[in-house]
Amino acid sequence: MAFTTLTFFLFTAVVIAVYYLFPVKKYQWLILLAADYVFYLYAGYKFAVFILFTTVTIYLAAIRIESLKLRSKEKIKAEGKSWSREEKKAYKAGVKKKEKTILALALIANFGILVFLKYSNFLAGGINQILGHTADGGPLPMLKLFLPLGISFYTFQAAGYLIDVSRGAVKAERNLLKFALFISFFPQIVQGPISSFGQLAAQLTAEHKPEFIRFKLGLELILWGYFKKLVIADRAVIAINTVTADYTQYTGTTILAAGLLYALQLYADFSAGIDISRGIAQILGIDMVQNFRRPYFATSINDYWRRWHITLGAWMKNYIFNPIAISKLFLGWSKKMKQSGFGKTAAGAHIARVLPTSISSVIVFLVVGLWHGANSKYIAFGLWNGGIIMFSILLKPVFDKMCTALRIRTESFGWRVFRIIRTFILVLVGYYFDIAPGFYGAMDMMRRTLVDQRLSLGKTEIAGLGLGKADFLILAIGMLIMFVISIMEEKNQIDTPGELLERRSFAVRFAVIAITVLMIAFWGIYGPGYDPADFVYMQF
């Protein structure tokens, strides 16, 4: 049930109506849970086994870990006074070990399923190639696997919860049905945002009354999402698909145009999906975290990842980057280097200081790359991003000195624009890995972009990519609208166009909404005979 179908629209309308009309407010949340499973089973009943497995195993593991914690606390309270400091320490370590074993088993089981379904063919192909065969013609067979809907998203969300419980940051949920709701909330299950238990869970099960302002802002957000998806993303994708089907047929000019269109499409598409999710949640009385904050205004790759797919970045930071960077191993390396002869020099001291963060960044982005898919091009995508971040941390003193020597006013508007453009180019290189058929394809596409710029031929080619002049005009208008809204949001530090509209008069609000509806109606790509493009992030 894709977000762009009439079925989904009707389904959501019915859910909202039943949710608010349900007489026993205390059990209102059960309507959401029922809706989640209707939504999920509609995608395929086979899938339900996987999400149920994750729900039950993580639910039980969390309770077990928490009971161990509670029991050990009580024991220390009761008998601790008669223990020596060492005895207490040893007892605590013993409990911690048990907790960690349960945590590890639950995480391995759940990520094991994800890795198996998503990466086993990639790994088997790689091993076949190492053994001197073709990827699909070696001793290891290629399996016909399917990915359950939203498996990456709910697995990450569930794993985050379990780690939080083991850290003592949140209390374990004792009600299985309430926990099942946290894992399966239908607006977010397909493509996120990946939410933390502490932020989302209590809201899901609280009692909610219909509020006019939430309906208004929620509907405006949904409308904005449909505009970005149907008018911009699903139009741009037509030209992109034509080029990527066989990029060797095209000049570097056209390949570059496809890359730029992809930057537009990916942002419009993914942020549209998130806006629709957040809008529906808002109507249901639930605030979900923001996933995008004008990513193309980022002034560095590091900044880009704080603005793009924010919830994935936050997850990675919280559960992978931080534990690795402050591990005894990494901090130990840093300390050793500091004490060495090299560490006594200015450059050495800096490198020793930033060593844990820079290596952890590369590891995290390797994981982010793999998260995007089982293909060497995604590993390259991850290393490209992680490598730039590492490079920028290590060389920061050099860059700072260069700025001083060149008398660059780093606070100036011009310098900021320069940094934004530079960052966008680096991001665009990363996108080439996304749209290319493979790693070598991406390299070849970059080479062609650099050496094969032929404007007039490119212009003719672009005209033949399946989009007419009117389509390009609509894309340009759409992009301009997104750009202007982004600037206004950035200026006012506001994250949705609806909140911007709130400050305007009724006439302006009415006109803007009416025009948006008309643009979607006339320019949106939908209707009979048209197969709506899946959201880009749906198959993760």
Partner: protein, 75 residues
């Protein structure tokens, strides 16, 4: 406190740690600074800062950092 100030100043000499009260919230300290700080604090005070301790509230001001250190020393 003086000891802590010396550590903080070594990591970010450009920041006035006596007056800033929202070091993380205002983006004065980024995650890279905090990791460096964790290394220095662990070593100086013989504590083990855990991932769960890496929340803005623990690093927003010199006082908050000192409170974190004191709590971990007592454990």
């Amino acid at each position: 406190m003086e000891e802590l100030m010396a550590i903080l100043e070594e990591i970010r000499p450009d920041v006035d740690f006596e007056t800033e009260k929202f070091l993380v919230k205002d983006g004065i300290l980024d995650s890279f600074d905090i990791i460096s700080l964790v290394g220095a604090l662990n070593e100086e005070y013989d504590i083990e800062i855990q991932p769960v301790d890496l929340v803005p509230e623990n690093f927003n001001s010199a006082e908050a950092i000192l409170a974190l250190v004191t709590r971990l020393q007592d454990e």
